[in-house]
Amino acid sequence: METMINYDPTFAEEVFQNVDAGEEIKMCMNCGVCAGSCPLRHEMDYPPRQIFSLIRSGKRDEVLNSKSIMLCTSCYTCVVKCPRSIPVMDVMHGLAHYAIKQGILTRKLTASFGGEFWNQVYRLGRVDEKDLPRRVFFSQGLVEGIKSMLGFMDIGIRLMLHRRMKLLPEKKIKGIESMRKMLDKAEKLGKGGTVA
């Protein structure tokens, strides 16, 4: 289908400029091996190959609102299989990050999970495995939060009984302040945020 759409380089330029690993798609020859190798391809609206074509045809909304870019399991299969050595996974992560920064939340729970994960890293330097799901669940609202917590109580209790839950809250690492300064600088120096 996408071959019938005219090329429009505007959005592709935006991707090259602002999206981490965005320039890698220049090497894509649309063979579809990435799509064939992806474990969640059957749940995607556009497989990676098509996402790349849509970028080249200037379909900004379709790409950034696509659920595909949020469904990467980070299994590296596409990275290993791509005959042009494109780190497809990195491009998908870059697009997901870029879409979320524009406020597009196609997969709310997944965006919240990843976002909260990073918040914890930034706040503590480590991840608190019991605190993370709680924050994610309640980010969906109080009622949804309570429902989800109850739904996962069986798993939580089992983990606790089998000594697989750290009971004390995770403490900040000693060098937290200096770590944050490093990360702040990286956020400024790196790509991934601004709209062209």
Partner: protein, 292 residues
């Protein structure tokens, strides 16, 4: 054999049975571990939702820089996600001087500098290539005779670089299982993804992935599934009941860490060393039958 052990956040919680069993096993094999001073999380595979790529690189470079300044030993990561995050950043830094410059300009905010001299290794790599199958065989006092194990390699312990094993047909874990006297059953899904870090938020999509893996393992005769990744272990073990309900299956397959099997085969204590009581689906039955 001295290494930095970077065990990461999960091995203090949901993957505790991995760390508890790894310690006595590695000691018995003559490996010495040091902790990286004040280490931070690797960012795992989902941080891209909140951070740009450079921030995630700098996060990992902080650990690398501290390790380099402290002693420069190889870093061993038992958790596959920690391993892949760290080796990826390390390789990219080593191959790209401009990136190293950017990373160092960020590290300088905290008075650190990285020169790119550290090696990042997976625990399977170290067990197979540094310790070796022969030494492991010598340590076995209770061979896991007749035990059929499906060796689940997962994704991030071999991909993308294939540093120590094939990315398409990995064999290291099977060789290690055989060294313990177990039978590594053929298991085509051994490198299929379990859903990894997005399993929890995308459970409706990822349950099928786990179902297929469990089905393949049991179909080929696996009495239990071994793994070297806390995320794989969690996804494969914790949701079997939900999967049974959703698909009408009857899975009840124990999921054990390779190091737990090693502790058992080395004749160590089933609880204190092998941490089998940490498992939700009990593996004691099949293991006791195997060691007699």
């Amino acid at each position: 054999m001295k290494y930095f052990l970077y065990w990461g956040c999960s091995l203090e919680g949901t993957g505790a049975n991995f760390l508890v069993s790894l310690k006595p096993v590695s000691e018995a094999l003559g490996m010495e571990f040091e902790e990286i001073e004040d280490w931070n999380c690797c960012g795992a595979s989902v941080s891209y939702a909140g951070a740009n790529d450079l921030a995630i690189k700098v996060l990992n470079a902080r650990n690398l820089a501290v390790a380099e300044a402290e002693a420069g030993y190889d870093i061993v990561a038992p958790c596959s996600s920690c391993y892949v995050q760290m080796i990826k950043v390390n390789r990219e830094i080593q191959e790209d001087p401009d990136l190293l410059k950017d990373v160092n300009s960020c590290l300088a905010e905290g008075g650190l500098k990285y020169n790119g001299s550290i090696n990042v290794r997976h625990i399977q790599d170290v067990l197979y290539n540094d310790v070796g199958v022969d030494k492991i065989k010598q340590a076995v006092v209770k061979p896991l005779s007749g035990l059929k194990v499906a060796g689940y390699v997962g994704c991030q312990s071999v991909r993308p670089y294939g540093e120590y094993d094939s990315v398409n047909k990995p064999k290291v874990q099977d060789r290690l299982l055989e060294a313990l006297g177990a039978e590594a059953v053929p298991f085509p899904s051994k490198i299929k993804c379990c859903g990894s870090g997005i399993f929890l938020p995308e459970m409706n999509y990822c349950m099928e992935l786990v179902k297929n893996i469990l089905e393949d393992a049991t179909k080929h005769g696996g009495q239990l599934i071994s793994t070297v990744c806390p995320m794989c272990a969690m996804n494969l073990e914790m949701y079997q009941e939900r999967i049974n309900k959703a698909y009408g299956t009857d899975f009840d397959v124990p999921i054990v860490y390779l190091t737990q099997l090693m502790a058992v085969a080395f004749g160590m204590d089933m609880k204190k060393d092998a941490a089998l009581n940490y498992n939700i689906i009990p593996p004691e039955g099949v293991l006791k039958a195997a060691i007699g």
